[in-house]
Symmetry: C2
Subunit: 757 residues, 2 copies
């Protein structure tokens, strides 16, 4: 790509930095130009948000496409998906029973919405692409099946027959296959790619379990041992296989071993071998397989992402290019670039935009080549905070008072300490109500003092998480205490809920204390960064749980009854099911762990994730164990391991990779222009300042002895998931991708999709 | 190190390969020469086995040092260590009680042996080095303390006072600090290096647990909820902290949550948050921290190992060097090299030695430079199997019969199939005794046929693991069946033990079936390779378990009694301790899980490793919980995670790194000389051949149309732990280490030691 590289050795004057450039494109360009800009905007924002949709490039389709990607439409779609999933709360077996006509109507509305969205999507992308995409097929099939199921169910129910809403199992597939579910699909692809290797290890593991079971049958079967329940110990092969499988989940340790151990110490050797080989070694193997696949696969995915991002940027470039460079090379002028950036990010400040330009056009030529242009998408995703040093409002109104020595001293003290009254906290007795008022007053005073010392607009800037955190917590606590006190005075009644909330809010403030210790901050940073991805895993878990909950409800609903603690029913002893009489399940009062509605199903599944307790097998056929083993394989062996693999990788990346090249060059440029804000400099009064997005101050104000406009790259905390993922393998993929000439069509515009389960 | 590199471009004749070289050094060199060779031998074997002992180089010390490293002395030391540790079986509380005088006498013998070993060591290494080494100090302190404790204990016991053998806790430290415990010390160093980071994560984790406990106290404390035992639920802060800590180990899930869940579904949100944050995220963090530290640290360790290995080889080189090369460069002649190799590895075959020489001296100059010489240690650690094609003994005696068409067909069929009667196995009914005989006869026939088709010496070659495996299993089964049948006929009595052993042996044969499937073989390879390191972790576990068992026995001995199942004692109900009346511990009949002797202590600790059941806290003070929490931190959070980290790394290495450079060059040389054996070529009759170590056949026999001597690099299965570890980071450390000139004294001869705990 040598023709794209900017020619070097042209020492242009450096003093042109941060000027507006030649305004040679009118603000109302021709219609054709508008369309080109529209299309370029779509390409750039697709590149920025990693959207991989092969849309029609006709002006009409582009406008439809812009509408399709509008945040309101996306929110609407997710709302309908959530409503559709939440229907399980109201359908039989329901938490809050609603009549069939009501749930059916809601479901029909949701399904219609999905259909409309599909039609919209079909208008945006070419017909052949639409039908080749398994995502669309999957949604259409799910919607159709739901309609069919709904009709059959309605017909059967109205005529009094037995009917099952089987299509509910497919509902979570909508969450996966919707256009916006990119990251969820990526997680599923991770799993799918690891599956062959996992299955080999799993087969070997099962072989080992089967061999051990055979040995166990031989060793223990004929000794007439009894379990604690009095049933024969290790006499049935399938039972042994199941028991030993459960031992891998550690759920029945040491119970499964006790009868043999009581008989002879030497039998423990069998269990020790089993635990070392299966519980520890094989389970580590699963993690290792998942981790190595995750790593390998992620690298490939990110490579694809970067490739397609670059391809889209090249497309945008070719729309706006002019043959203006030395030797007639295509370039994009600053004016066009400015217009494009304004369209892509309407609320970007001029100064921020010009900073970005000066990074790209570092030789002040007034135009940039393809190589520099392509970096725009990456540059836009680096969060830059524009900092303005403004006088405090009080300083403007009462300058002499604000600058008096007393006032200065107060401000100095406030700046010195993060929280003035923090350590009183611990001595506080949560019962004393008068002290409560005192402390609340102190906290309020603290906030007011801080607002006095710092500009309120800066104090509540968007990136000042802890200021928001503190203020919200203290104000909520204040309101809570006031409401509670009012309730008490009016009726002598104290609301426990409000007190609890106040207390929890106050305890949460402790987190800030920990964050102020440097060693812990690094770990909390990782935690915060992992946060968004945990949400993706949350969706993954919801999809899997939902499917298992639907199946589980059909299998086990009503088999176990929960009685309120003050109930006097004799059935309470055995959870309303005589089959449970005398089982540990009933003895430990697990009656509420049932599949009687979707909420309790989810809770049971969570418990099964933590420890695989399978008391349910007592209430149905023994083959219901398959349900529990399957759940263990899917959730514990696969999903939890993917989660651990993600955390492992995130942790290693955090310690090895620091900043991207672009981020470094942006920072260097900021430093070069002497516009940098000292990072976390508590000593300077400049730290707390406000981000101004709509500020249209020209750059002329900057560059004095103390510039009033400064930049700061947002802390590493505010990275997105995609960003983190790309960062993970950025160093690996950079060189080869820059040497490669992008070829349209065959690279990655075939969406990597999630095949229907 | 350019002066070390061999000058290139000298096209010497290639036909000198595999000749003996000029014998210009007499086989009885002068005394001075002998001493030099002795010293060089020590250096080379130290390099080969990664010994890092700074020994005295005086001839006498060298001879003492050779004795010190003799396998018999090392075996003796380990025997004494095992005896010393095993004393716990016979000391109060004992499995097999022995009088105090007996155990004391044995212990005094052991301690004396350690003292003698120390004195020996002190004579080998310089005085100042001896006293600077914490290993030695630690052993001396432990031995001294043991003597003191023994005296005090004997005196107190003989006068009838209460006494504790407190020095027993230190016994496992001998295992760690003994000279040969290199790999164990490395594992401990791994842990020590990860400790600071683990502790930060642990503090944050504990902070999180404490905050959650505070919230739990507020949420649940005043609602008057009851646990299943009828005790108040979540009212005491420390109890909550402990319960929530145990929830992290998943031991008390879902019991700990049930009272709150029964009260309100919304309280499960608290537990879900807790499980996601603490049980999953923080536990993954521990793994991530341990893994990243393990990786980082291991790299540094291996770098040090390679450096010191190279330094030792340079020392050996400088002892044997002559200024013979072009430009007066120091070189070592082939004769000297041959003598050295014979001393280092007395049982190496001439052909193997000459193969190694031809790899090093690939230009046939008759001497090698420093660069090539240094590689000897690595070259010696690559296992090369010398293969000789010999006629079958039957072929020699009855050539016409053996070469008849029928015989050829039988041999062909036998070679085609791994096991002829394998699949009959499954149809076999283990009860039918006649069929048993039939099958045994078939298996025997199979082995005999195989011995007919293949040279017996080749069939039982050392690297033919599966042949040994099969034969041992079938012959044992045959003997077992014969003995059992004899017993039955003589007294009508069937020994269950023998039948069981026969059965297990037969089941083990199934493993061979799995190994024949390629996909599984890769996984089994990793398992086998991990094997030796699991032994290191086994030692680590023994050290930690032993210490905890000693402390646990003092704390809990006799608190819980186990009654034989047929006992009629009324105390059986509550394990002989009224405090346990009605507890789950007694109900589930965990009475045998006690600290009444060292064996049951180890079993309890194993159970605690799998799931942290802490029923013991009922029988002593509540502070005994500290014991269990400490155990969980040390074993589960640290040691198990190191184990998982090792498996992760081993797995990733297995998939990424294939062969070392040296191995490749050795293989290339073998191929060049057309002496390579086709790997796993089942079709050729040459596969099964014998390793000849003492074969003194000259190279003149080789090189005909079908060479009778061939080489094969031992399969990847037979790697040592050190080899695997070095392989892990070999690619990373190679370049810089080759550019570095070794400096004596300050590199690594300061033994990396395990500081006393």
């Amino acid at each position: 790509m040598s023709e794209i590289e900017k020619p070097k050795g042209h020492a242009l004057s450096k003093d042109k930095v941060l000027t507006n450039g030649g305004n040679n494109v009118s603000s109302n360009p021709s219609d054709e130009m508008t369309e080109k800009f529209d299309l370029a905007t779509v390409y750039v924002s697709d590149a920025q948000y990693n959207r991989n949709i092969f849309f029609d490039t006709s002006p009409q389709a582009v406008r439809l496409y812009l509408l399709y990607n509008h945040w309101f439409m996306q929110t609407l779609v997710y709302t309908f998906i959530i409503v559709n999933l939440a229907l399980a709360l109201f359908e039989d077996p329901a938490v809050v029973p609603l009549p069939i006509w009501a749930t059916s109507t809601i479901e029909i509305i949701c399904l219609s919405a999905f259909s409309v969205r599909m039609v919209h999507y079909a208008k945006v992308i070419p017909k052949d692409k639409f039908w080749k995409d398994p995502k669309n097929i999957c949604i259409i099939v799910v919607v159709t099946l739901s309609f069919i199921d709904l009709t059959i169910y309605g017909a059967l129910k109205s005529t009094g027959y037995f009917a099952i809403r089987w299509s509910r199992v497919f509902r979570p597939l909508l969450l996966v296959n919707v256009t916006e579910g990119r990251q969820l699909r990526r997680a599923f692809r991770s799993i799918r790619n690891a599956l062959p290797q996992i299955s080999y290890v799993f087969l070997l593991f099962m072989f080992s379990v089967l061999v051990f079971s055979l040995v166990a049958l031989k060793l223990f079967g004929k000794r007439g041992l009894l379990t604690i329940d009095g049933s024969p110990y290790f006499t049935d092969y399938l039972d042994i296989v199941f028991d030993l499988y459960v031992l891998v989940t550690t759920a029945n340790s040491p119970d499964v071993m006790m009868p043999a151990y009581n008989y002879s110490v030497f039998f423990t050797i069998f269990f020790i071998l089993y635990i070392v080989i299966n519980t520890y070694t094989f389970m580590s193997f699963f993690l290792a397989v998942v981790y190595s696949n995750y790593k390998k696969h992620l690298k490939e995915e990110v490579r694809q992402l970067v490739k397609s991002r670059r391809f889209k940027m090249c497309r945008a470039f070719s729309l706006l290019q002019e043959a203006r460079g030395e030797g007639g090379e295509p370039v994009v002028t600053q004016a066009k670039w400015n217009h494009l950036v304004k369209l892509v990010k309407p609320n970007i400040s001029i100064s921020h935009r010009e900073l970005l330009w000066s990074v790209l056009d570092d030789q002040n030529k007034g135009h940039i080549g393809k190589f520099a242009f392509v970096q725009l998408a990456d540059l836009l995703s680096i969060q830059v905070i524009t900092v303005k040093s403004q006088p405090h409002p009080i300083q403007i109104c009462f300058p002499s008072m604000y600058n008096s020595p007393v006032s200065r001293f107060i401000r100095y003290v406030v700046h010195q300490r993060h929280s003035l009254f923090f350590f009183y906290y611990k001595a506080e007795n949560p019962v004393v109500s008068n002290a409560e008022w005192g402390f609340l007053a102190l906290y309020m005073l603290e906030i007011i003092l801080k607002l006095y010392a710092t500009d309120p607009r800066a104090f509540f800037a968007r990136h000042h998480f802890w200021n928001w955190f503190d203020t919200i917590i203290i104000v909520s606590a204040l309101f809570g205490t006031i409401i509670n006190s009012a309730l008490k005075h009016s009726g002598g009644y104290t609301s426990r809920q409000i007190l609890d909330i106040i207390f929890i809010l106050r305890v949460l403030r402790l987190i800030r204390l920990v964050d102020s210790i440097k060693r812990f901050r690094a770990i909390i940073n990782i935690l915060i960064k992992i946060g968004p991805t945990i949400l993706i895993f949350g969706q993954l878990i919801v999809v899997v749980y939902y499917i298992f909950a639907m199946v589980g409800m059909e299998l086990f609903k009503g088999k176990v009854q929960f009685f309120e603690p003050n109930s006097t029913s004799p059935d309470q002893e055995y959870c309303g099911n005589p089959l449970l009489k005398g089982t540990t399940f009933a003895k430990l009062n697990y009656c509420k762990n049932n599949f009687n509605n979707v909420v309790s199903s989810f809770i049971v599944l969570l418990e099964l994730t933590v420890v695989n307790q399978c008391g349910f097998t007592a209430v149905t056929h023994i083959s219901a164990r398959i349900f529990f083993v399957l759940f263990h394989i899917v959730v514990v062996i696969i999903i939890i391991n993917i989660f651990v693999a993600f955390i492992l990788e995130a942790f290693l990346v955090e310690y090895t990779i620091d900043k991207s090249d672009l981020q470094t060059s942006l920072e260097k440029k900021i430093e070069e222009l002497e516009l940098n804000v000292q990072q976390d400099g508590v000593d300077t009064g400049l730290v707390d300042a406000m981000e101004s997005n709509d500020n249209e101050l020209g750059p002329s104000e900057a560059g004095k002895q103390k510039p009033s406009l400064m930049f700061k790259i947002a802390s590493r905390r505010s990275r997105t998931v995609d960003g983190l993922l790309q960062r993970m393998f950025e160093t690996d993929i950079r060189p080869e991708d820059f040497n490669e000439e992008e070829e349209p069509e065959n690279i990655n515009f075939s969406n990597p999709v999630f095949d229907s389960v």
